[in-house]
Amino acid sequence: MTVQESAARTRPVPAVEAEGIAKNYGSVTALKPTSFAIPAGSYFVLLGPSGGGKTTTLRMIAGLIRPTGGRVRINGADVTDLPADRRDTSMVFQGAALFPHMTVEQNVAYGLTLRRLPRDRIRSEALEMLKLVGLAGFERRRPHELSGGQQQRVQLARALVLKTSVILLDEPLAALDAQLRRDMCFELKHIQESVGITFVHVTHNQEEAMTVADEIALIADGELVERGTPEHMYETPERRFTAGFIGENTLLDGIIHGHGQEARLVIAEGLEIPLPNAPVGEGRPASVSIKSEDFRLAPEAVDAVSAPVEVVDVFYLGFSTVMHVRLPDGRPATVRSTTGALPTRFRSGDRAVLSWRPEAVRLHLA
């Protein structure tokens, strides 16, 4: 290993760097000033509810939208003022954004023909990419002769063939049915890993995000709420919004009472959640979240903390069963249990006890 290489190892240049990028449409704020860096070679997902600003963020990276403020850097180079085609990125659009009058091969090759490469080289590269995305033999077809999933693969091949260091994907799987979406997720991940370049993928589907992502950035209301690995976002979210959006969590809001070992979150009269050594002072509003699978529902308390509840709905889903229950003050909570582990079959209207381990409680101060 040379000195330069080891230096590069220690401080790698991010593939994409956003520094305070923002976008306003007149009085509408699509994205507030936002900064993030995407490590080279990673699969980065922008996840969030509709209208949150994901597409806006992605298009500013692509150069299809000019930010109203901030800078964009790709591989360390400032590209804020460069048009889309001068950036080392290529885009996979939502829906089947292919040239309808060209064959699959022509679609994939179009970007290369613009670069004046020799013909047979263009052809061989296009065919190679089609093979990579599993469409060998489809090169003579036209887009309308392909299924939705195949059309998205063509788009992917078209983006990959340009050998840019970043591929940007805007809801690439939104038009596909659930099963195909799942298969395509695995495939996207495999392709990204085998090609080794950076993917930035926009979606509002959390399962899709969890499947493909090395890292997820949650974007809502024009703001980057939180970012982290799928495990982090699921297991230890910091923000209340993250806990509400990712997974199946019960959120409880209240006021901190007491301190030290005595600290607890008072949610309502008779409903308190112990928060020993909570890092906040008395009287501060806070929230907690508990994953549905961390609750246990039984005729009597089976874990350290518990509350009496009334069962509202029971949904049998085969492997697991989801139960909606009501806490003493009427607040809803969601419990998910592997069906086999349930002590009895609950019915709506049953009285039971909801219990959980203290470690399952996650505190959110914002």
Binding site: G63, L64, D85, S90, A97, F99, P100, H101, L114, H144
Partner: protein
Amino acid sequence: MKASGPGGAGRGILWRRLVADDGPGRLLFYLPAVFMTVFFLVPLGLTLVWSVFERTMFWMKPGFTLAAYGDFFLSGRIDSFLNSVQSGLATVALAFALGFPIAVFVRRSLPPAAQHKAVLLFILPFMISEVIRLFALRPVLGRNGIINDALIGSGLIDAPLDWLIFTPTGVVIGEVLSFLPFMVFCGFLAMEGVPDYVFELCSDLGSGVVRTFVRVIVPLAAPGIFAATLFIFVNSLGLFLVPDLLGGPGAANAGTLVVNAISALDFPLAMAIAAVMVAMMIVLLLIGHRLFDITRILQPYR
């Protein structure tokens, strides 16, 4: 859903019975076919038949002779005809070069609500009689017309341009101006076949304006462009008003030739010229259909 009253339901049943597969009303569906036969196919057939009839003093009599075709192909008329084909092609090219970019601009750069108003603006001139519109070009294009005045006034030229009117160029200018709205309108409709994403796609791939236009927009809008082109070409051959009003002495197109033949009571000749024009149009249609499925005019790529 709205509940239909007893009267509505009754009418519905009656109507359905009338137009059922075996009901008498099914004949209704043949009306368009009858209409087309009476008003298009029969005259077309008669044109062909009469073109080989023998000429008499005031009318013609049944027979078979190619004299009329000889009169057309072996005289100065064919030169006039070919000249008008030439200026027709020039008109088509200019109308496309000017009109289609306008259509693209309207589709791409105006907000949706303004688009239809803009197109309406371009169609408005069609509401004015063609004669008036063409006549009004005289004070614009003439020796002392607005254009010459402006050019001389601005010092760009010393003497008035005298080829703007009463010349073959004048004919082309007149035709372009009268058919431009049609190209804009058809182009606007044709752009329906060009999805919005292709523009973003092209800018992401780095396909320049010219290349995007030639390789993407034109192929996608081709059926509509072809329809407009054909309409303009055929009309520029057939509408004798333009050469009459703007072409100067001796200017003629196929339409003029037909009118002259009719005034000379040479009906077979008039029919022969018309038949040649129809044949030419059919050939053009077939070529167009081979190049790009014309049925796509009504149904763009999905």
